[in-house]
């Protein structure tokens, strides 16, 4: 054995170097092509099918354990659960009573303004697979993919609110980037007064930030943030989070606002993929696609921008607190707070 190996060595030193260089060039080529072009999408989808059995094999024991625990719960626990769910259902139904009427009214009003952007059309439920994708990025893998019509940039909700959006699609699985990922940004609106801004992830599942609000902005802790629907990626009016803390430092021009996400980012097992209703006719998104692109990078927030009224691209933040009525954007102005499918989703 040993003799075999030592003769083996001398003969193969050059071979090793050559093969190393070849493989490295191949890997570099893959990186460049995958980063800059779209050709590898199909290959990646096929590869994700190959990876699927491994992912299933890893996830299934945990799912089996969950199933086992569920099936051995006592009758009392089930009863308590049922009572709780029924109470929740009653509450939800109370809230729903006026929903239909309100939705119809909203549709009518929007139709008057020729703006039906951001209205949801249909849902698809997906299960989160029990896997750790990456310790340093906030992503989850869901068991729905291109086969089910899921597409990149699609909005994903859970029962509490906005969860994230689809970053990558495989044939059978999709990778969802959470709203709390450090590269994710989402256009939001304060429900109380209609103030528009952008909520940026922090890399911490329990916290988002509003980095673009001036210290004078009308925001208090407890404010509910909902999606504004601007930019067309997310449906309008879904809860994103509640303001947890507002720190105003008079020396800074921007306030430091912490938001607690509405979705149970670390616990949700079932997610909803959302399809938006195709728009009737509106030149808005095309115009906004370019104007908002410069807002997203989070590095922008760190530089304390002087307090001049943000003019064009940074117009996400109204300089003072404008009256609510003014805030609802007329259909024709390009929405300033357009968030591109977040930087992270594009850049890989």
């Amino acid at each position: 054995m040993v003799a075999f190996r030592s003769t083996d060595t001398s003969g193969r030193t050059t071979g090793l170097l050559l093969r190393c260089v070849l493989y490295c060039l191949l890997a570099l080529a893959l990186i460049i092509v995958d980063k800059h072009y779209d050709h590898l999408g199909r290959i990646r989808r096929l590869l994700s099918i190959v990876a699927y059995p491994v992912q299933i094999a890893v996830a299934s024991p945990f799912e089996g354990w969950d199933w086992f625990r569920e099936s051995v719960t006592t009758r009392d626990a089930l009863r308590a659960d049922k009572a709780k769910l029924e109470a929740e259902l009653r509450l939800a139904q109370f809230r729903l009573q006026r929903y239909e009427a309100l939705e119809a009214e909203s549709l009518r009003l929007r139709a008057l303004r020729n703006n039906t952007a951001g209205i949801t059309d249909r849902f698809l439920i997906g299960d989160v697979m029990d896997l750790d994708l990456d310790a340093f990025r906030e992503r989850v893998l869901v068991d729905k993919g291109a086969r089910d019509g899921v597409f990149v940039g699609q909005a994903v909700l859970d029962s509490g609110g906005v969860f994230g959006q689809v970053a990558r699609v495989g044939q059978l699985t999709a990778e969802v980037i959470l709203v709390s990922d450090a590269t994710h940004a989402i256009p939001v609106q304060i429900n109380r007064n209609g103030l528009r801004t952008i909520a940026v992830g922090t890399g911490d599942m329990g916290r988002l930030k509003l980095p673009y609000l001036p210290t004078s902005a009308d925001v208090i802790s407890g404010d509910l943030l909902v999606t504004s629907g601007l930019g067309g990626g997310f449906p309008a009016g879904y809860p994103v989070g509640t303001v947890a803390e507002v720190k105003r430092d008079p020396a800074q021009s921007l306030a430091d606002v912490d938001v607690k996400p509405a979705a149970a980012l670390d616990r949700s097992r079932e997610l909803m993929f959302v399809w938006l209703r195709p728009q009737a006719s509106s030149p808005v998104p095309a115009a906004s696609a370019t104007s908002g692109a410069s807002v997203a990078p989070s590095g922008h927030a760190a530089a304390p921008a002087p307090a001049q009224p943000p003019s064009q691209s940074a117009a996400a933040i109204p300089p003072k607190t404008p009256p609510p009525a003014k805030n609802l954007p007329p259909a024709k102005t390009p929405p300033p707070a357009k968030t591109p499918p977040p930087a992270g989703a594009n850049d890989e």
Binding site: C20, L131, D134, R168, E348
Partner: protein, 158 residues
């Protein structure tokens, strides 16, 4: 000789698959940053022990599998793993006569190099992960090396 390689390939493929599964096994988030790169250690082991059976092809394939399963840019782990496996193969005759401590230190250097290539590609493709946590994995990996080499050695001898 054909038979010989084939026999050696089975434990290799098996251990690589198990290590790949361990790479995405859900753990409490406190431990997540400490998770060693199991597949990388396994590839190092086979590069040192029997480079003829798999060597760089194993490294490249395993790297691609990691890319797909972690959902990062294709070729990132493949590049890092190929480079470091080639280095490990180059060092293998020395590594075999090293003491356990020196072996661990060498593996630590290889793992750090691996992380460094990943770090560099992350930065070059515009998703820098700058948390300090990512440099913990090489430490844990190096500490784990004697155990893993022992287990794989048993598997190998059978």
């Amino acid at each position: 000789m054909m038979r010989d390689t084939r026999i050696r390939r089975l434990p290799m493929a098996l251990s690589a698959l198990v290590a790949l599964a361990l790479a995405v096994l859900p753990v409490p988030s406190v431990l997540e940053a400490l998770r060693p790169d199991f597949l990388v250690l396994v590839v190092f082991y086979w590069s040192i022990e029997s480079p003829r059976a798999g060597g760089l092809t194993l490294a490249f394939t395993a790297g691609l599998a990691l890319d797909v399963i972690h959902g990062v840019v294709l070729g990132q782990h493949a590049l890092a793993l190929t480079l470091m496996a080639a280095w490990a193969t180059h060092l293998r005759l020395r590594l075999r006569v090293f003491s356990i401590l020196s072996q661990c230190l060498t593996i630590f250097a290889l793992l750090t190099g691996y992380q460094f290539v990943l770090f560099w590609v992350d930065g070059a493709t515009g998703n820098p992960v700058t948390t300090f946590g990512r440099w913990l994995a090489p430490v844990v990996g190096a500490l784990l090396w004697p155990v893993l080499a022992g287990i794989l050695g048993r598997l190998h001898e059978r």
